[in-house]
């Protein structure tokens, strides 16, 4: 086994093309000596830091929150860099000869599709957004520290408040959890990777770009979203939130939802269809179980908000009237909270999964009532989470019976959580408790969750909710659950899996200091909010003397809570490079992610680990991690496109897979959405939108090209556990999962159409707005395309390739005519002066038909791909799954039209 002497500079990672790097050279490479240029860089950074700090200290409420945020970021980031500088005595500036290695390092992280790399990226990026969201929180708390403060203006405060909520929930908590899920779940279930690695990378880059887009809004005209994280209508209308900034913000949110949806499909297929041999559902570890529960909720909850965001952006860009029409506020409330309440559990569940993993390890006994926990969560929490959203609307005009129903279901959902908490506590009884840091954070999370949960039950009761709604009591409750339970649980996960991810141990003293200071500071911050139960939660300043002391204490707590996280960062940075090497299973855990060594490889089987996936984080080589020198340099014939195939021993082929497509597609979408936000405000809007679409189109073409030429191929495992879908392929499971999600999306939109119609005093009679004859013809054409797609499948099943191409071409022609007829009808309406803004009826029509037509367009593009592939002989009697998958999707699009046609043409 080779040993590392600990002298590799921190910026030199293990690149995607690590294969040809001579480690012996790396091991003996001298530490880069400091040159004048490096020192100049150091002093330049120091100067920036000083100037930024001085300017920040001198700001008052007239400065924009974006400017303050930027300066705060500069101060924090540069301070961190200087700390690292002093810790490691390493220069920031790279010497020329190191550029190649840095390039290799960058290529790995930009193009990787490996689940561990992506997990790491998720975690690091989520922590960056925690820094952004945390900075906003500190700005808000500073404003509220004293009565009548003018540190922030009302608008700046509202922006900070709204973006803090959105960033912390959607760009920090969920992604952090999914960083761990990405890294750990495939290991726990002994899968080689996620089912669709490129989609996994695409999910990550959509998340990363959407977050950057959201932060960018601070610097755009109109600024960031300022109507609260719940985006209540009509505050989100252009009347109250003008400018492109908010529109770009909503687009960013929509991209994030898209990322989550893709991720959900990927995870659900992986966990159902790619479990390794012997990993039956009874043997699935608790963390993976809780991720399964989370994914199921994500798959069904997020489409509702996706539909709502689509409509909101259409309202702002295309002047549709969904949320500005009568009843629009209630419509938004319903759609938002249908997603919003499950989101609380989506954020909470991974944390509970980690706790359920940690408790048995650190008590040396099995988790108490494991089956009861799983049954309670799956049969009660998951379904009930979709039936409790109305308790957020007790103060609206919901009918009393509906309020009562939601009150009962909300109180009901607390029962399974009682089971979970009692089971956690019973696990401690008679256990040999080892109070290491993961255990401390797990216990802390349980304690604060009990407080947060009990205060939540208050809010389930209509009379109490009337008292507490919109006060700081709710803020306190919410943060005890979201920060206390979720973040502390994820800190526990962080420390627990740190040795697995880095090959090194963290510093226990620093870690315990981090826990105790965090626990104390957390309670100093949030407990006073329970006392402030008469203070409205959405005011930017106050003059009531009685609120001053709790606010002051809370602000001091917030400073402390933010400050002590530096301990975490220092521990993290130090331990990754200088931490003591970890033994392979330091906690003596029994789950599969700890089964890794040179003999068995990462998969617990006779397979050599992929370099990129077995090395810890790629930031340095641990002496613990074995490096197998049998890896050969690659001959050109062994390189297949972007995947590197290295033959280690007979029957052990390992792949390293990377792709440039995911980052390009995500980047293109982000640029396009940025342009969409600018349309109507800036002449650059349309060019940006077109540029984004072009980038995306080229990258998608490249993706298809890679597939056509076999440039990206992940080997299928020979044997997997697939119950209960033993006869269903992973591709088919994937498309069905996507369809389930799409069903909810269309259900949300069609229900909104009906809602708008019922809220509108007069609605055009059938046939007056849309010609029934034209609708009938287009419907018959579309419905005839499904059997054509079916006949294409039938043809290839018989080995008839000509028949396949013919029927696909017929389907393509029918689909094209259908979309053409829809656009023809649009043109007729536009020609007669009618558009989306003309009436509620036309708003719903243009929006829904447009969304459906875009689904048809996706199908048409897929068909072109299939025809090209078929013409190249890409399908055979035995291998034609893509044709079947396409047929399912295409028929789904037809089925949706069966509902749309009567709604707009007949009823």
């Amino acid at each position: 086994m080779r040993k590392w002497n600990g002298r590799i500079p921190f910026y030199v990672g293990v690149g995607a093309e690590i294969w040809d790097i001579d480690l012996a050279e790396e091991e003996t490479a001298p530490v880069v000596d400091e040159k004048p240029s490096t020192q100049a860089g150091f002093f330049a950074i120091l100067a920036v830091l000083v100037v930024a700090s001085v300017v920040l200290a001198d700001l008052d409420s007239s400065s924009s929150v974006g400017f303050k945020l930027a300066l705060s970021e500069i101060v924090i980031v540069w301070t961190s860099l200087l700390l690292i500088y002093f810790l490691f005595n390493r220069p920031f500036l790279l010497k020329a000869e190191r550029a190649r290695r840095v390039q290799s390092w960058a290529k790995r992280w930009l193009y990787t599709t490996n689940h561990k790399d992506i997990g790491t990226l998720y975690i690091v990026t989520a922590l960056f957004f925690a820094l952004v969201g945390g900075t906003l929180a500190e700005l808000m708390r500073t404003q509220l520290e004293t009565p009548n403060n003018n540190f922030l203006s009302a608008l700046s405060y509202n922006q900070a408040l709204s973006m803090h909520g959105l960033i912390m929930i959607f760009w920090f908590l969920s992604p952090l959890a999914f960083g761990f899920a990405n890294y750990i779940v495939p290991l726990q279930i002994k899968a080689k990777d996620l089912a669709f690695p490129r989609l996994n990378a695409l999910s990550y880059w959509l998340f990363a770009f959407s977050g950057l887009l959201a932060v960018t809004t601070f610097f755009l005209p109109g600024g960031a979203i300022d109507g609260g994280w719940t985006l209540y209508s009509p505050l989100t209308s252009t009347q109250f939130m003008p400018g492109p900034g908010p529109t770009v913000g909503f687009s960013a949110f929509m991209l994030m939802v898209g990322s989550v949806t893709i991720s959900s499909v990927n995870f659900i297929v992986t966990m159902i269809a790619l479990r390794g041999p012997g990993i039956t559902f009874t043997k699935v570890p608790m963390f993976t179980w809780f991720i399964i529960f989370t994914i199921v909720q994500m798959l069904f909850a997020f489409p509702a908000i996706l539909g709502a965001l689509f409509m909101l952006i259409a309202d702002r860009v295309a002047s549709t009237l969904f949320f500005s029409a009568a009843g629009g506020a209630m419509l938004w409330d319903n759609l938002f909270w249908f997603f919003g309440h499950p989101e609380v559990y989506i954020v909470l569940m991974p944390s509970f999964g980690a706790i359920a993993e940690i408790l048995p390890v650190f008590t040396r006994r099995r988790i108490f009532a494991k089956t009861a926990i799983l049954i309670a969560t799956f049969s009660l929490v998951v379904p009930l989470s979709f039936l409790v959203w109305g308790h957020h609307m007790f103060m609206t005009t919901l009918p009393d019976t509906e309020k009562l129903t939601f009150m009962i279901s909300t109180i009901g959902i607390s029962l399974p959580f009682d089971i979970i908490v009692v089971a956690f506590l019973m696990t401690l009884v008679r256990g040999r408790i080892l109070l290491r840091t993961p255990m401390l954070f797990a216990l802390g999370a349980i304690v604060v969750f009990i407080i947060g949960g009990i205060t939540g039950v208050f809010l389930a009761s209509i009379p109490l909710d009337v008292l507490f709604r919109g006060t700081y009591f709710v803020v306190g409750h919410f943060h005890y659950v979201m920060v206390g339970a979720s973040v502390f649980g994820l800190f526990a996960a962080f420390y627990y899996w740190f040795p697995r991810m880095t090959g090194r141990m963290y510093n226990e003293v620093l870690a315990k200091t981090h826990f105790w200071t965090s626990m104390i500071a957390f309670n100093i911050t949030y407990f006073p909010m329970f006392i402030l139960l008469d203070m409205p939660r959405r005011i930017f300043t106050y003059s009531v003397p009685a609120w001053a002391l709790p606010n002051f204490i809370s602000t001091i707590g917030a400073y402390l809570f933010g400050g002590v996280q530096v301990i975490f960062v220092i521990n993290l940075a130090y331990s990754i490079y200088r931490g003591a090497p970890s033994v392979r299973n330091p906690w003596k855990a029994e789950t599969a992610e700890w089964e890794w060594d040179s003999e068995l490889g990462d998969l617990g089987g006779p397979v050599q680990p992929s370099m990129s996936s077995s090395l810890p984080l790629g930031m340095g080589m641990s002496s613990l991690v074995p490096f197998t020198p049998t890896v050969k340099n690659l001959a050109p014939s062994e390189v297949v496109g972007r995947q590197t195939v290295t033959e280690l021993e007979p029957n052990t082929i390992e792949m390293h897979h990377t792709s440039t497509r995911p980052i390009t597609i995500a980047g293109g979408i982000a640029v396009g959405m940025f342009g969409v936000g600018l349309i109507g405000y800036d002449y650059l809007g349309l060019p940006f939108a077109v540029l984004g679409a072009a980038i995306c189109g080229v990258a998608l073409f490249g993706w298809a090209w890679d597939d056509l030429h076999g440039r990206f191929h992940i080997p299928e495992p020979l044997e997997v556990e697939k119950w209960p879908f033993t006869k269903i392929s992973k591709m088919k499971l994937g498309v069905w999962s996507l369809i389930f999600s799409d069903i909810i999306l269309f259900a949300a939109i069609l229900t909104s159409d009906v809602y708008v119609r019922l809220s509108t005093a007069s609605w055009p009679a059938p046939g007056t707005l849309h010609p029934i004859g034209l609708g009938l013809v287009s419907t018959l054409i579309l419905l005839s395309s499904s059997p054509a797609a079916f006949m294409a499948l039938n043809s290839i099943r018989k080995g008839d390739k000509r028949g396949l191409i013919t029927w696909l071409a017929i389907t393509l022609a029918l689909g094209t005519i259908f979309d053409g007829l829809e656009f023809y009808e649009w043109s007729l309406l536009f020609a007669s002066g009618m558009g989306p803004a003309t009436s509620n009826a036309l708003s719903t029509y243009f929006f829904t038909i447009g969304l459906h037509a875009s689904h048809v367009l996706v199908g048409l593009l897929a068909m072109v791909y299939l025809i090209v592939k078929a013409s190249k002989g890409g399908f055979t009697k035995e291998n034609h799954e893509a044709v079947e998958i396409f047929g399912i999707y295409w028929s789904f699009v037809d089925a949706i039209w069966v509902f749309i046609f009567p709604l707009f043409f007949l009823v």
């Binding site: 009918p399 509906e402 809220s759 006949m791 079947e884 069966v898 046609f901 009567p902 007949l906």
Partner: protein, 88 residues
Amino acid sequence: MARFTPVLVWLYVIIGTVLQVSAEEYLRPHSVSAADAIIFLLGVSEVTLIGAYFMHLKYEQRSLLIVALLPIVIIGALIAGILVSIVS
């Protein structure tokens, strides 16, 4: 699948659509609720057939069919919740 099944399903869907339009044209003047009910029921039956045959649910493992019902239940809750709130 029998050789003529997809053709029969296609014919049903086409005829069903024509019947929906007929209900709108000829039945609605006499009874709005009857026309709406027929249009709705025909639509549901068409979607069921498309799902069963063209989306192959009829030939898939039973477990997939059961899971496919899950979003329908959730949709039921969503539709009920939203539309009931309009009563107010």
